[in-house]
C-alpha cells in the first residue's frame, strides 16, 4: 500500500471529520457535564407558593417582631418585621438563624424517658399520656407525703401566660419554689423597688437620650433588646448624641462609643459615686427633682462628699481625676443624660450598690420617668385569672420558705436566687428538692460554677426538662417533655427587656410541629387535670390556646392581626405620684433597706498571689450565650482569633503576654479557684494589662456536632460571689493564672 501526499492528507482530514461527526464523543461530553450540574446529592429546593407570617422571636428577651417567608409548608427565611415597635425591620444574627434550630439535628423529637444512667443519653420514647401520667404520679406521691414544697421550677421568665401557668400550678399544688434565671433585670427591679417603692421593670428611653453613660453595658453587644439598641445607637450617630463607655476592655460598644474610658474592673460603683461627688459639689444636679421629689439626699450627699472625692476615686478606679471631673460635667450638662449599667449582655446580676449608685446618678440629673431617662415600667396586667383556691396541703406548702432563700429573713429583697440553688442543695445530705422542672432554661450550662450545679442536679431525684433541644440540662434529666419551638407554637411575649412602653408580642405557629412535641402550656394543663381536685379546678381551660385567647380577651383579634399589641396610652406617672416609698418620694438611700450600703467594689474570688491575673467574660453577638447553643450559621461568623478548631482564645494585652512569655496563639492552662482549662492566647491591644478575657457562649457539651465540643464554658471557671444585701450573684470576674503547656 502506497500513500501519496494526497491520500495522506485525506486520511488525516477524513479521520478528523469522522471523529467529529460521530455523535458519541460530543454526546457523552455534554451528558457528563449535565450530570455534574445535577448531582443527586446536591439538594434542589422545591418551589411553591410563597407566603409570609408575622410572629415574634423568643430566642432572647429582646422580643423582636419577625416576618417568616414560607414556600408551601416550609419556612425558608426569617426577616425583621417592618413597623414593629421594637425592631422595625431589623433582626439579629440569632433570630436570623432560628430556622437552623427549627429544622436542626438537635431537636428532641418525642417525649423521652431516661433508661440508662443520668447523662448517659440512653432514652426510651414514650407517649404523651404516659409522660403526663408519670409526672402526675410523681407529684401526687410527693404531695401525699407532705413534700409538695420540695418541687421546684426554673424558668427563663416570670412574665406571660406560660410562666403564669407554671406559677399557678406550683401555688395550687403547694410549692413556693418558682425560680427565674438571673440577669440584671433582678438588680434593676430591686433597685427600683427600693428607691421608687414599686414593683416594675427598668425601661430606658434610649431613643431620646442625648448623652449615654454606660458602665460596661454592651449596648451594641446584646444588652437589653439587642436590635432596638442597635437602632438607638445608629440614631445617636445621626443626631450627634454622645456615648461614653466605661469598661476595662475595648468591646464593640467601647469601639463605637465617642469616648472609651478604661477602668479597673469591678470598680464602676466607685466611679459612679465619684461622678455624683462632682455633680453635687458643683451643684450641677437637677434641684427641682432633688428638692421636691426625693428624700435621703442629704445623707447621700454626706456619704459621697466624705468618701468619693475625685482623687480617692481615681485611686480606686484608675480613671484620671480630671477625666472624671469633665465626664461628670458633661453628663450633668447634657439635656437628656442617661446612665446605664449591667455588664456586657447583662446576664449576671451584679452588686446592688452599683445599680443603686447608677440609678442615683440618673436621679441627680432628674431623668427618672422622663424623656430620655429611666422609667419604672410595671408589667402589663392582662393576665387576670381567677384567684386559685388552695386546699390545705397547698396552703401549708406555700407557707414554707423558698429553697433559694429569696424573701427570707436573710434575703428579704430578692425574689429569685438561682445562684444560691446549687449551694443549698449541695450543703444538705438529702436534696431539699425532690422534683425539678426546667423550661426555657439551661442552668447546667448557664449558671456559674457548673461543677457545683451539676452535682446539685445529680442529687435531685426527679428532673424534668421541657426543652425543645437536647441541651445540657435535658441531657441530664430523667424525663424530657419537648416543647414546640417558637415557630411552631402560640405564646404571648410581653415586655421586651428594657423597653419603656407596653408591648405584647405573639409567637404563632409558622409551620406545623415538625415532631411529636407538645406545647408546654398544654402539658401543664394536662398535668393539673391528672392531679385532679383543686389543682384541676384551677385550670378550667381545654388547652393552652383557649387559655391564651381568653386571657388576651379583646386584644386577641388585634394581636393576631398585627403580630403584636402595644398600648398607645402608656405613660409612667408624673413624679408627684410615681413613688410609693415610705417617704412617698424617690429615696437616694432606701429607707426600706435594713443594712446600710457601703458602695464599695465587690472583691472577687482568689488571692492575687496564686492568681496574679483577673479573668473576665465578654459577650459577643456572634456567640449566643444564654438561651440556646450557637446555631451553625452564627458559629461560622466567629473569628479565628476567638475559636480555631476546638480551641478558644483568651484575650490578653501584649504587655502582659510579654511578661509571662506568651506569643500569639500559644496554648496555656488557665486556672481559677473554680476550675482549669486549656486555651490559646490572642494578643489584643484593647484590653487592660493584667486582665484575661474569655468569650461566653462556647464549651457546650450537649446539642449536636455543630455546637458541642468547641471551646470552653466560662461558667466552669467562675463561681458566684454573693452580694451581702441582695443575695444576688455579684461576681464580675475571678482571679486567674496562666501557665504555658
Amino acid at each position: 500500500m502506497k500513500i501519496g501526499r494526497r491520500s495522506f492528507l485525506s486520511f488525516i482530514i477524513g479521520g478528523a471529520a469522522g471523529t467529529a461527526l460521530s455523535p458519541l464523543a460530543w454526546k457523552s461530553m455534554d451528558d457528563s457535564s449535565i450530570w455534574s450540574q445535577n448531582w443527586p446529592w446536591t439538594p434542589v429546593p422545591a418551589d411553591g407558593e410563597v407566603s409570609h407570617v408575622n410572629s415574634v422571636c423568643t430566642l432572647c428577651p429582646g422580643g423582636c417582631g419577625i416576618t417568616v417567608r414560607k414556600v408551601d409548608d416550609r419556612a425558608v427565611k426569617i426577616e425583621g418585621m417592618k413597623g414593629h415597635p421594637v425592631n422595625d425591620g431589623g433582626v439579629c444574627i440569632l433570630g436570623l438563624s432560628a430556622l437552623q434550630l427549627l429544622y436542626g439535628p438537635t431537636r428532641v423529637k418525642a417525649p423521652l424517658k431516661r433508661v440508662g444512667e443520668r447523662g448517659e443519653e440512653k432514652w426510651q420514647e414514650i407517649s404523651w399520656s404516659e409522660a403526663v401520667a408519670e409526672v402526675a404520679a410523681k407529684l401526687g406521691d410527693l404531695r401525699s407525703k407532705g413534700k409538695s414544697h420540695t418541687v421546684c421550677s426554673i424558668l427563663d421568665s416570670d412574665k406571660g401566660t406560660v410562666p403564669y401557668l407554671f406559677g399557678r400550678l406550683l401555688t395550687v399544688y403547694g410549692s413556693p419554689n418558682f425560680i427565674r434565671t438571673p440577669s440584671i433585670q433582678d438588680s434593676y427591679e430591686l433597685a427600683i423597688n427600693l428607691m421608687h417603692g414599686v414593683q416594675a421593670s427598668a425601661g430606658f428611653d434610649v431613643e431620646h437620650a442625648d448623652f449615654v453613660l454606660s458602665f460596661g453595658s454592651g449596648l451594641i453587644d446584646g444588652w437589653g433588646s439587642p436590635v432596638r439598641m442597635f437602632k438607638a445607637n445608629s440614631n445617636w450617630k445621626d443626631s450627634g448624641s454622645k456615648v461614653v463607655q466605661i469598661e476595662p476592655r475595648l468591646s464593640n460598644t467601647a469601639a463605637k462609643s465617642d469616648k472609651w474610658i478604661p477602668i479597673n474592673p469591678g470598680t464602676e460603683v466607685a466611679l459612679a459615686m465619684g461622678l455624683a461627688h462632682v455633680i453635687i459639689k458643683e451643684s450641677l444636679y437637677d434641684s427641682d427633682f432633688v428638692n421636691n421629689y426625693s428624700s435621703g439626699f442629704d445623707k447621700f450627699k454626706q456619704l459621697v462628699l466624705d468618701k468619693y472625692n475625685p482623687d480617692n476615686v481615681a485611686q480606686i478606679t484608675g480613671v484620671d481625676s480630671s477625666a472624671l471631673v469633665s465626664l461628670a460635667r458633661n453628663f450633668a450638662h447634657a439635656s437628656k443624660p442617661l446612665a446605664v449599667c449591667g455588664r456586657g449582655q447583662g446576664k449576671t446580676q451584679g452588686s446592688l450598690d452599683e445599680f443603686i449608685a447608677v440609678h442615683a446618678l440618673n436621679a441627680l440629673v432628674g431623668n427618672i420617668n422622663s424623656e430620655g431617662g429611666v422609667w419604672a415600667v410595671p408589667d402589663p396586667d392582662y393576665i387576670k385569672w381567677p384567684e386559685v383556691e388552695m386546699d390545705s396541703v397547698a396552703a401549708v406548702g406555700m407557707q414554707k420558705e423558698r429553697i433559694d432563700g429569696a424573701g427570707s429573713e436573710t434575703y428579704p429583697y430578692a425574689r429569685y436566687l438561682l445562684n444560691r440553688f446549687s449551694g443549698v442543695v449541695n450543703s444538705e445530705e438529702e436534696s431539699p428538692v425532690n422534683a425539678l422542672f426546667v423550661a426555657g432554661a439551661n442552668p447546667l450550662y448557664t449558671i456559674s460554677d457548673s461543677k457545683a450545679v451539676k452535682e446539685a442536679f445529680s442529687k435531685i431525684p426527679f428532673v424534668v426538662s421541657f426543652s425543645s433541644y437536647m441541651d445540657e440540662t435535658a441531657k441530664n434529666a430523667d424525663l424530657i417533655l419537648p416543647n414546640h419551638v417558637f415557630l411552631e407554637r402560640y405564646e404571648d411575649v410581653p415586655m421586651p427587656v428594657g423597653l419603656q412602653k407596653h408591648v405584647i408580642g405573639l409567637s404563632r405557629p409558622v409551620v406545623k410541629p415538625q415532631f411529636n412535641t407538645k406545647h408546654v402550656g398544654d402539658v401543664i394543663i394536662l398535668i393539673a387535670k391528672a392531679l385532679g381536685g383543686r389543682i384541676a379546678d384551677a385550670f378550667p381551660w381545654d388547652n393552652y390556646e383557649a387559655c391564651l385567647e381568653e386571657t388576651l380577651g379583646d386584644k386577641w383579634e388585634s394581636i393576631v392581626e398585627n403580630g403584636f399589641w402595644s398600648d398607645p396610652d402608656f405613660k409612667v406617672p408624673a413624679s408627684e405620684e410615681a413613688f410609693n416609698t415610705p417617704s412617698g418620694k424617690f429615696e437616694f438611700i432606701p429607707a426600706n433597706l435594713k443594712s446600710p450600703l457601703d458602695f464599695s467594689p465587690v472583691t472577687i474570688e482568689g488571692s492575687d498571689i496564686s492568681y496574679p491575673l483577673i479573668l473576665v467574660p465578654y459577650d459577643s453577638m456572634r456567640l449566643a450565650n444564654g438561651f440556646i447553643g450557637n446555631p451553625p450559621f452564627i458559629t461560622k461568623t466567629v473569628e479565628d482569633t476567638v475559636l480555631k478548631g476546638k480551641d478558644v482564645f483568651v484575650e490578653i494585652n501584649p504587655k502582659t503576654a510579654e511578661e509571662i512569655g506568651l506569643i500569639e496563639g500559644r496554648y496555656v492552662d488557665i486556672r481559677t479557684p473554680r476550675g482549669k482549662a486549656k486555651v490559646r492566647v490572642h494578643l489584643f491591644d484593647g484590653i487592660m494589662p493584667g486582665i484575661v478575657a474569655l468569650p461566653r457562649g462556647l464549651g457546650h457539651t450537649a446539642y449536636d456536632k455543630y455546637i458541642a465540643g468547641k471551646g470552653i464554658n466560662f461558667n466552669e471557671l467562675i463561681g458566684p460571689v454573693e452580694d451581702p444585701v441582695s443575695g444576688f450573684d455579684a461576681a464580675w470576674g475571678i482571679r486567674a493564672r496562666l501557665t504555658k503547656v
Binding site: M1, K2, I3, G4, R5, F8, M29, S33, W35, S36
Partner: protein, 412 residues
Amino acid sequence: MDSALMSRGVKRCPTWQFILWLCLFGGVLLWGVYAILLIWLKGLNQTNMNDNYGFALWIWADLGVIALGGGAFFTGFLKYVVGKDDLKNIINYAVIIGFICYSSALLILAIDVGQPLRSWFIFWHANVHSMLTEVAFCLSCYFAVLTIEFIPLILENRQIDKVPFFHNLSHNMHKVMAVFAATGAFLSFFHQGSLGGTPSVLFGRPFSYREGLLIWPWTFFLFTWSAAAYGPCFTLFVTRITEKVTKKKLVKQNTIDLLAKISGWMIATYIIAKIIDTWYWATVTAPSKGFAFMDFYSNNPLYGIWILVLEIVVCGIVPAIILLTPKGRNNSVALFIAVTLGCIGVLLNRWVMVLQVVAMPVMTFDKWVMYIPSWQEVATTILPVAYGIIVLMITYRYLPIFPQEQELNPNP
C-alpha cells in the same frame, strides 16, 4: 527478546534491569494515580489549596513544565524556520521532552479544575478577553502539533517501520514536518505569552500586574522569551542526564555548543529585559497603586528580596555568562551548572508569578498567607516526573532518537 524492538546497532541495558527501573518509576506513577483518583472522587478538599491559594503548586507546575518544554518549540523554530540544520541531532529529544511536558501540563490541569467534566466550556463559552482562553486554545493546538511531531518518531521503530503503511506515513509526515514545526512555534509564542499574561493582567494584584503593549502586558513577551531561553537549558539538562545514565555520548559537542550558545544569548537579553521590567514595575507601576517595592518582600516568613537576587543574578546573569563564553560551554561541569541554574531560574520565576502573587496581601487588613501542599498535591506533581522518565526510558530504548548515537558509540 525485546531486542527485536530496538534499533539495529545500538546497545541497551538488559531487560531485567529495564523492567526493574520501570517498576520503580511505575510505583511512583501509581502513587500519583491514586492521588488523582482521590481528588477526582472526593474533590479538591484533598489539597491544601484554599480561597487565598486558588492557584498553587499545580499551576506553578503547569507554568514550569511548559516553560521547560519550551525547548521543543524553540529548537524546532531554529531548525525548521531559521535553518540551523545541526540541531537535527537533538530535535527528536527536544520534541519528546516537549511532549512529556505538555501532556503533563494538560493532565495537571484536568486535576486542578473543580469540574473537569466541564473543562470544554472554555471552548464552548470562550471569553476572548481571558488570557486563559488564549492559553487553552494555543495549548491544545500546540499539543496536537507536538503529537503529530512525535508520531513519525514512533513510526520509526524497527518493527513498526516494517509495515509499509506506517513506513509511508512516516515518510510523508517527515515531508510536512516543517509546516507543523512552524505552526507549533507560532502557537507556542502565543501560549507562552498568554501564560505570561495570566498573572500580569490581574490589575487587582499589584505584585504581578504589568503594563504593556496593546492588549499584552510586558510579561507576555518576557514569558515567551524566557521559555525560549531556558527551554533549551532543560533539553540540554535532560540530554546530559541521559548521557550520564546510559554512560554514552549521544549528541556531538558542536550541536550542544550551538544550542548552549543560542540559549546563552537568549538568557542574556532576557535578563536585561527582566531587569528593565522589574525596575519600571518597582518605581512606576507599584507606587502608583500605593505599594513600595519592599512591601512585596517583607513581613512574611518566606518571600524576601533574596528570591529576586536568586532569580536574576544567580539563575540569570551567571548562566548567561557561562553559556556565552566558549570556555564555559566546553567545560562539561560548568555547562551542566549553567543549564541547571537556568532551569531553576525559570521555575523560580514561574513560582513567584503564581505563588507570591496569591500569598501577598492586597487589602491593608489582609495578611500574608503561607501554604504547604498536601501529599496528594505533591504526588500528582511528582507523577509527571515518573511518567516523563518512563516515556524517556521507553523511547530511548526502542526508538532511534539520537541520529549520532551509532557513530559516537561504535559497537565493539
